[in-house]
Amino acid sequence: MSNVVGILSISIPRIAVLLNIFLFATLLTAKKNNAVRFLMLLLASFVLWTGGSAFMRSNSFPGVAFWWHVSLIGLFLVPYFYFLVACGFTENRGLISKLLFGIGTVVLTLLNLKDVFLTVPEFVLNDGVSVISYSATSFALIPVVFYAIVMIYSWIILIREVKKKGLPSRYIKPFVVGILILAAGVVADLIPFFNSMPMDTLACAINALCIYIAFSRKRLYPKDQVLSNGATFVVAIIITAILIDPIGLLLSKIFGESLNTTKEYFILIICCAVISVLLFLGLNVLRNKLFIKDKNKKEDLLKQFSSDVNNSLNQNEILNSFLELINNEIPVDDLNICMMDEEDGAFKTVSGLNSLEEPLVISANTPLIDYLRKKKQGTQYSDFETSNEYRSMWEKEKELFSRINASYILPFATDTEIMGFAVFCRSSVEKEYGYDEINFLESVAAVAAIALKNAKLYTALEKEAQLDTLTNLYNRRYFNKRLNETVNNNALSPVSLVLFNLDDMSLYNELYGNDEGDKLIIRFSEILSSVFGSKGTIARWGGKEFAALLPLTDSITADQLAHRVKEQMQLQLDEEIEKTKKFMSFSAGVCTYPAVASNANQLVSYANMAVFNIKQNGKAQILIYDNNFSAKSKDNSDKLSEITATVYALTAAVDAKDHYTFNHSRAVSEYATKLARFAGYSDDFIECIRQAGLLHDIGKIGIPDSVLTKNGRLSDDEYTTMKKHPALSIEMVRHLPDLDYVIPAVIGHHERYDGKGYPRGLAGEEIPLSARCLAIADAFDAMVSKRCYKEKMPVETAISEILKNLGKQFDPELGRLFVEKIESGEIEVVDY
């Protein structure tokens, strides 16, 4: 029993001193503020206290008296340093009390060196156990009272400041636990059972650990900075040095007298070296677990984030990754990300953790942006409030940031610009972020900024590819994409399309040159932008054609807007000095989905039809393509009969060249017209198809007879020549302005639904509807009619051939309808 007490009597102070040294060493490499400095002083005094006690109890060199005084110096300094720690922890200045208590402590410590309060201890045998004995003088009450005052005042400061600042209780709890354990340790010393075991030193070490934890909770030192490799090694050496004595004892016990001194020292050195290395490795593991783990975790997260965002060129994806990372790692009530809007330069909320009732809109000239531009790094909002820039903040801007509890602003900045920023909102008392968090945020923002910059460049390039270079309006490719998206996303809401076609543009170019023509186009595009603004999407559809896609707009409103364009154009023309330039006008066709057109293609076709209709009747009109459009068109019967005459004149020329082609054209026209009628298309469209059918092979006039009327299979060269006939047809038709509306059908009737056709290789619904009708009719007639190189094919075989090629060569819906009508006899097979 006495051995155990003896070992404990020596071991407890050693354990205590080791713990204190360890905690002290961890802070050596940390960035120090006053609070951390005070904590280091307190830990140093703990080391003196416990260290002195340990060496005194082991009767180490130079003697008990020396270590007794060392221990007491530490003990006498503890209350004052504890008081300093309380001040530092609560950010209390208390200059006078610091001075008074400091003087008191110095005086008492010096007096103690003269043994004024306690006698130097001696080892005495108590029940066979060597215990330390000392006695207090009559003056001992003085330091007791003084230090009691210091400790009570320290606690007054702690409690008062914690209440005043509303600090969370978890900050203060370790202090409470620590002081209670310390008190228990001191009381335990007075109990006979613990008489020879210095429980106070053990309690002191535990108290040190508690205070250390409190500092860690309040983030008064960055965890990742504590205990470097060097410091860990020094700690290992110190611990080994302290352990030399017990190791020596242990070796003596194990080997007894069998070893001579040299061997004993040799083994001791080996043991110490091994223990040092093991301790170093063990401490490193401990360090990693306690301090570096968190840092490593953050580094890993940062790497992952960097990898995620660098693989993305989408701003939303990058910001979502950012939000997710911050939400998991940083305490925040809400986070709003504002990005610069390219159009007005304002910073607007694009995403956030919680959706705001009213999104933030911060104008580019807000002083906060200037401030961020200067700093180029995150800032506590409270720091911004003290700046000169804040003086020029508008009250409504101040109110806005105050309402959302803005606490930290993190810009996404490059060398040249602020692309956006994140507003961290915290309503808690602890609004400001600590060193670790700010460091992490800065790193994340730097990574995000690069990724956002790349995404921005990509978006700019993408946008550039969507724009027409002359007018800066969208180009046709992008417009078609938007058109399909809009129609698909608005199944029930109206979507209107307005197609504008500048009249007499060729004449204008011829009269004033292409540069003037370009200027006119630019001016017209500006009018469109001013009239339609954000109501829809405007595009340059072709050379002299423009399109406006208007979601949630009916045909009447679209028509009104088109008339406003007309008024605006007239206003501009009125300002023209050159009278000849005043003749410019445009024709516009309006059509609406789903009331009139049932899909995007029809919308375009019908709007086009309206434009064609105007062109056939003159120009400078705006026409709505509605369900009564065909009836209105009948008024144009005179015009139509003129066109029909032209068509027949052309077909007669074909007949003269190749009678078979003439019959074929008539049959194709017949089939296609009927198919269009059964498909429910408008009369105008049907008429267009009829004429296109008659003219679709008109280009064959230009094909040599040797090829056109050859018996047998065409060679590759001949087939290539034959494939030119759609292009030749266009060449002929385009010289007849009144018939130009049949061009899409004529040029596209050899296109295939799977994109393998010619001449342009269009696929699916890219192929004009009229051309898809013609393609079926053309193929069917080719199969069921006799040619010089083949016999008629049975109708059933032709039908099965069509069915087999649905979705490949033919439009599946139209093909199926055609087959159905042939089978039912509603479309009769033309025999010639």
């Binding site: 950010e91 200045r93 409270s382 700046s387 000169n388 003086r391 020029s392 508008w394 009250e395």
Partner: protein, 543 residues
């Protein structure tokens, strides 16, 4: 965070940067603040009844439109709204109203509304001034949260009375007398009580009206000798003060020289407000051992400007109001021809050594737009290279020439003087009034009066009788006139009698028309020479 907490927790640099770094602004950044806050004010102003009336020519969208569309205003343009305190007609709801006299009592008291946001700026700027008052070099200052402050400024609802109320929530200053005590005291009693308390426990800072401070300074020795000999006064003194007084008395007796305030007080800061501060500055520095820092403002204008740590020229706060300056010649032209619209210049357009009348547009929901408070400033320099200040610094000259301001208490105008003369039934014909200074640098109004020939031979028509009669009636007309005599122990008026017709004769001779109020010094000298009279008071020095 309140200022007291900042003093505890923040470094000097952080505090300086927050409150005094506006002195580091470049001219460009200063104007950026000015224009931005002007935009905010115009937006708010255009929404209210008063704004719509003042900006009846249209809401300005550019700075040129602001100059062209918004007229220069005087209190008459606001009186129907402000005298009635019609809060619904203002851009923002006021938190408090301050008052001042209007044309020496010839008109009702002027009221000016202050919004919460204006008071926030006011408070910050006052603290800036307090920090600067304790500073002798950039970044260094000595402000104590619990400093003892001798407070010698007019109480609420005058503008200066607002200082303690604004500072109280921010700091634990011990005002002498306390705000509570001062509330029930006259200004005169407040000053006496404050000084009594200062003698008992000492002071760290002194805020005062220059004329009052100067009066205290001049009579300091006498006040110490009478005050400290009173047993009851001695009883409440701290041992430190007792020692200081005893030591000062001993040295004064030994060296046969008067006791100066610096023998008893070691001021950290010294702030002076009011007319003629520049005139007394040197004497005050000599007496108190600290160079006073001048601040300037007014009831309608709030705290406009402060000096820097060099205490040598006012810098206007960038966030209090938008400033425009009318050059003196433009102002005189407008005075002669009220239909003429004088040109104004912005802060970045002023020239050194030019005199300007200031025009202000209050920020933060203030009521006054392009308002002429009637104060004249001289631009000392457009930048101060010694102190590294890139902003213009000014010296407050006085009120505009049509107003005679004596010691910051009483303002005489042609209208007020004429009214009093009429009331008094004095047989006065034509008269002139000019602000002049005595040898001991006190300002007074010198009246040159022509006694009508019918009464000229009367034995009663002496200069003293005219003065007594005029003073008696003026006291009734304007109570501040009475305060002046009580507080400063001086008669603010001096009378010189001229033969009837002498002014007209002089005008004919010179073929000019003399200004009734503040004619030029040269005109006065020539007039007096022309009538063969010696100067009324030889000790008088003209401006």
């Amino acid at each position: 965070m309140k200022f007291r907490d900042k003093l505890e927790k923040l470094s000097k640099k952080q505090i300086w940067d927050e409150y005094c770094s506006f002195l580091d602004l470049s001219m460009e950044d200063y104007m950026k603040i000015q224009f931005r806050l002007l935009k905010e004010q115009i937006d708010d102003y255009s929404q209210c009844f008063l704004g719509k009336r003042i900006m009846k020519n249209g809401v300005p969208h550019t700075i040129n439109e602001f100059k062209e569309n918004v007229p220069l205003t005087k209190y008459d343009d606001y009186q129907d709204i402000l005298l009635e305190k019609r809060e619904d007609a203002l851009p923002k709801k006021p938190t408090t109203w301050l008052k001042t006299t209007w044309e020496s009592g010839s008109r009702p008291e002027k009221w000016a509304p202050y919004t919460k946001e204006m008071l926030n700026v006011y408070s910050r700027n006052i603290i800036s001034a307090m920090i600067l008052s304790t500073s002798s070099r950039k970044g260094d200052f000595k402000v104590r949260s619990d400093a003892k402050v001798l407070y010698g400024l007019a109480p609420m609802p005058y503008a200066t009375g607002l200082f303690p109320y604004l500072i109280e929530p921010e700091m634990d200053l011990q005002f002498m007398p306390s705000i509570k005590q001062a509330r029930d005291m006259s200004f005169s009693t407040q000053n006496k009580e404050g000084f009594k308390q200062a003698l008992k426990s000492g002071i760290d800072q002194f805020f005062g009206m220059t004329s009052v401070v100067y009066r205290i300074t001049q009579n300091f020795d006498e006040m110490i000798n009478s005050g400290s000999s009173d047993a009851s006064a001695v009883f409440g003194m701290t041992p430190g003060m007792l020692c200081k007084i005893a030591k000062a008395k001993y040295i004064a007796k030994r060296d046969n020289k008067p006791i100066k305030p610096k023998d008893l007080f070691e001021l950290d800061g010294f702030v002076c407000v009011g007319t003629d501060t520049a005139l007394f500055k040197h004497d005050l520095e000599d007496a108190w051992g600290v160079r006073p820092l001048e601040i300037h403002g007014g009831t309608e204008t709030a705290c406009l400007a402060t000096e820097s740590w060099g205490k040598n020229g006012l810098v206007f706060f960038p966030d209090n109001a938008f400033y425009e300056f009318i050059p003196k010649d433009e102002m005189l032209r407008n005075e002669a021809d009220p239909s003429y619209v004088p040109r104004t210049y912005f802060m970045d357009e002023v020239l050194p050594n030019e005199e300007y009348e200031i025009v202000i547009t209050l920020f933060k929901g203030g009521a006054f737009m392009r308002y002429r408070p009637g104060d004249m400033y001289r631009c000392l320099r457009t930048k101060n290279e010694t102190e590294g200040i890139d902003l213009p610094q000014f010296e407050y000259i006085d009120r505009v020439p049509s107003v005679i301001d004596i010691a910051g208490f009483t303002r005489f105008t042609e209208k007020s003087i004429a009214s009093v003369l009429q009331l008094s039934n004095l047989p006065i014909g034509r008269w002139l009034a000019k602000k002049e200074y005595s040898e001991d640098k006190r300002s007074f109004m010198h009246m040159y009066v022509e006694v009508k020939s019918s009464a000229a031979n009367s034995a009663f028509m002496s200069e003293q009788l005219i003065l007594d009669c005029f003073s008696a009636y003026y006291r009734k007309y304007d109570h501040d006139y009475d305060d002046l005599k009580k507080l400063l122990g001086m008669d603010p008026t001096v009378v010189t009698v001229l033969p009837e017709g002498s002014i007209s004769k002089y005008e004919e001779m010179r073929n000019c028309k003399l200004r009734t109020v503040n004619p030029t010094a040269a005109d006065i000298i020539n007039l007096m020479n022309s009538i063969g009279s010696t100067f009324g008071r030889r000790e008088i020095t003209l401006e």
